[in-house]
């Protein structure tokens, strides 16, 4: 597979390095393959090679008449193919389209430039030189948004990500940044993607959570042939609060041909709490990885992660979850569970939980299970009149239910139930 570029794909970013330089270092490294620990279960090089003859950076930023699909009252940000096209925001939120060089410099170059949190680990000097996806992203980055919320939000904020129907062979590199301070808010990010052609999207997204309580939902609304890699860097900073931030992140990612949702979460202030909940129903040909790295660098923080996958047909579900606890992070409470329910001999669920702990007074646990559907349970439900299909549906919903139960907002709960229902019904 080749990347199809011309010289004017590269812009001057006003940095000491040019986009071309990033591209050169990307070319040196190539796409990550399974030899890289972080890509152990997802050989991106192979996957892209077998699905694309060439990838062409998407240039045009089209406009279209979009509709808001949620009928409850909300603020909104609307993107098309990763580029910001519209927003409805309260005045307390500052939003800027990420297109000027200055913003690029401000928001993107810091990706991966994390400070050294764990003793004994080498400082990351030049992340882009080590991270293929980041160097690729910086090579062609030409779209994205950035905003700050400095007050509580009275309504949920919905980030609509629309896609053109035909993005055949296109590559999108975008970068977004979200900063939330002294706030309590709900954000729903929804991919509305019905693309029946293959494209590749490489997103870098940064979150800064300061003394805030944030419920964040990512929902994949449709079924598409898109290939999505998203790197999320989350910093939870509680510099002077006793209460601590709560960042609660939900992933409902089923429906895409390929997804890798990659999270690096740093609990940088005492008493913070990070939650990751994922529920997916994976169908024919779907490859879905959730990867998390949870850094506990301060005492009295909690992180709870729950990953639930239903695997149908020849789908592949993956969870790689690492918890790192620094020597300062006493009284850490870190919990992680991943479960796969396999309904087809050709489906696979792989997990790799890891704990790396340098503090001695901590409560850390992880577990993972995967197994086939309980035939006695199907039998039992059928003796109560449920047709086999309905019985299986009920068992699937039951399996995912402890993620759904975590959702407190009724509108969102309904959205998720519909999303899951649609994905169950799509199974043939």
């Amino acid at each position: 597979m080749k990347i199809n570029i011309s010289n004017d794909d590269f812009k001057d970013m006003g940095l000491s390095v040019s986009q071309k330089d990033f591209y050169n270092s990307f070319i040196e490294m190539g796409f990550p393959n399974r030899k890289k620990e972080d890509w152990k279960f997802t050989d991106l090089d192979k996957i892209l090679n077998s699905n694309f003859e060439q990838l062409t950076p998407l240039k045009k930023k089209s406009k279209f008449k979009h509709e808001k699909i949620f009928n409850f009252d909300h603020y909104s940000i609307t993107n098309l193919n990763g580029a910001l096209i519209d927003f409805v925001f309260p005045k307390t939120v500052s939003l800027s389209q990420l297109k000027e060089v200055n913003h690029l410099k401000k928001h993107s170059i810091f990706f991966g430039m994390r400070e050294n949190l764990i003793p004994g680990r080498p400082t990351v000097e030049n992340a882009s030189k080590k991270d293929q996806m980041l160097s690729l992203n910086l090579s062609f980055l030409d779209r994205g948004y950035s905003f700050k919320i400095m007050d509580p939000l009275d309504k949920p904020l919905v980030i609509y990500n629309y896609y053109d129907d035909d993005l055949r062979g296109k590559m999108i590199n975008n970068s977004n940044s979200i900063e939330i301070t002294d706030s309590k808010c709900t954000i729903i990010e929804v991919d509305i993607d019905k693309s029946k052609s293959k494209y590749f999207k490489n997103t870098f997204q940064k979150y800064k959570i300061n003394e805030s309580e944030v419920d964040y939902y990512f929902i994949n609304q449709n079924n598409s042939d898109g290939f999505n890699y998203t790197k999320n860097e989350v910093e939870i900073n509680d510099l002077n609060s006793k209460k601590g931030s709560i960042f609660s992140y939900f992933i409902f990612g089923s429906g895409s041909k390929f997804r890798k949702d990659d999270y690096e979460i740093s609990l940088n202030g005492a008493n913070s709490f990070a939650k990751i909940n994922s529920a997916a129903i994976l169908k024919k040909g779907e490859h879905h990885e959730v990867k998390t790295k949870m850094f506990h660098s301060q005492p009295h923080c909690k992180s709870h992660q729950k990953i639930k996958n239903i695997l149908l047909e020849d789908s592949k579900g993956i969870f790689q979850g690492k918890v790192l606890v620094s020597d300062k992070a006493q009284k850490t409470d870190a919990y992680q569970i991943s479960k796969g329910l396999i309904l087809d001999d050709n489906a696979e669920f792989s997990t790799k939980p890891e704990l790396e702990i340098y503090a001695d007074d901590v409560k850390c646990s992880h577990g993972s299970t995967s197994g086939n559907i309980d035939h006695d349970a199907i039998y039992y439900l059928m003796t109560r009149g449920l047709p086999k299909k309905e019985a299986i549906k009920l068992i699937i919903k039951g399996f995912l239910n402890d993620v759904v139960l975590e959702i407190t907002d009724l509108n969102i709960k309904k959205l998720i139930e519909d999303h899951l229902e649609e994905n169950i019904n799509n199974e043939n």
């Binding site: 039992y380 439900l381 059928m382 003796t383 109560r384 009149g385 449920l386 019985a391 068992i395």
Partner: protein, 244 residues
């Protein structure tokens, strides 16, 4: 109502039911007793339509051949099995399950769908008759229920679904004395000329409360003796040694 002729059932090489004849008429209560491993649960499973058995002989319910009819269709025709070991189903809310099941069965009988409020009222009413705490209804189906609680939940389902033929597989095992009485009352209050029972049990105690019309002894996959309720008392004294 139910007519079995020369019924045989096997799994792989192992034959379990070895030529069984049984005729249950409307309004009758039949009890089946027999040693461990004699095939009682297998019989119950076969009647409910469970997959995995090689079956021969005739199996008729209300004159219709059941052989090709799947589990859920049998339930809709009015066959109900109270499990010896009810299955735990994580994440499935008990009252939601009961609602779904009840409406499915009602629909097949041509009765109208009940709305959630009416359903819930009905479920609570029947639950309280069985002394089942409302809290159970909001728990996950059978998950973490005690042995006796699971059995009561089976009888609750029976009372809600109003089957024509109820097969109770050792429903009395694991019930305390009070619960046994409550469950027996539940069965007796549901008993009528129109429906029948097949009660599998090891103990005469249950049969003191629910008087069977017939008692059968199942041994090594066959009915080796049939009698009236006195037979149960006899077995209590002598055990099964005479039938081996």
């Amino acid at each position: 109502m139910l007519e079995l002729k020369d019924l045989k059932a096997s799994i792989g090489e192992k034959s379990i039911i070895k030529g069984l004849n049984l005729h249950i008429k409307s309004g009758e209560v039949h009890a089946i007793m027999g040693p461990n491993g004699s095939g009682k649960s297998t019989l119950a499973n076969v009647l409910s339509g469970k997959n995995g058995y090689e079956i021969s002989g005739s199996l008729k319910f209300e004159g219709e051949n059941l052989n090709e009819i799947p589990i859920d269709e049998r339930a809709k025709k009015g066959i109900f099995l109270a499990f010896q070991y009810p299955i735990e189903i994580p994440g499935v809310n008990t009252s939601n399950f009961l609602k779904t099941s009840l409406n499915t069965i009602r629909k097949s009988k041509g009765e109208k769908n009940l709305d959630t409020i009416t359903l819930l009222k009905l479920i609570k009413e029947k639950a309280s008759e069985l002394n089942i705490d409302e809290k159970f209804l909001s728990r996950q189906l059978n998950v973490g229920f005690s042995g006796g609680e699971k059995k009561k939940n089976e009888i609750l389902q029976m009372k809600l679904l109003e089957p024509k033929l109820a097969i109770l597989d050792e429903t009395d095992s694991g019930l305390d004395i009070d619960a046994l009485k409550i469950v027996a009352d539940g069965v007796n209050s549901y008993k009528s000329k129109k429906n029948s029972f097949l009660i599998i049990t090891h103990y005469q105690r249950l049969l003191d409360y629910i008087k069977p019309d017939f008692v059968h002894v199942l041994s090594d996959g066959k009915i080796v003796k049939t009698g009236n309720s006195n037979l149960a008392q006899e077995l209590e004294k002598t055990g099964y040694k005479n039938f081996n």
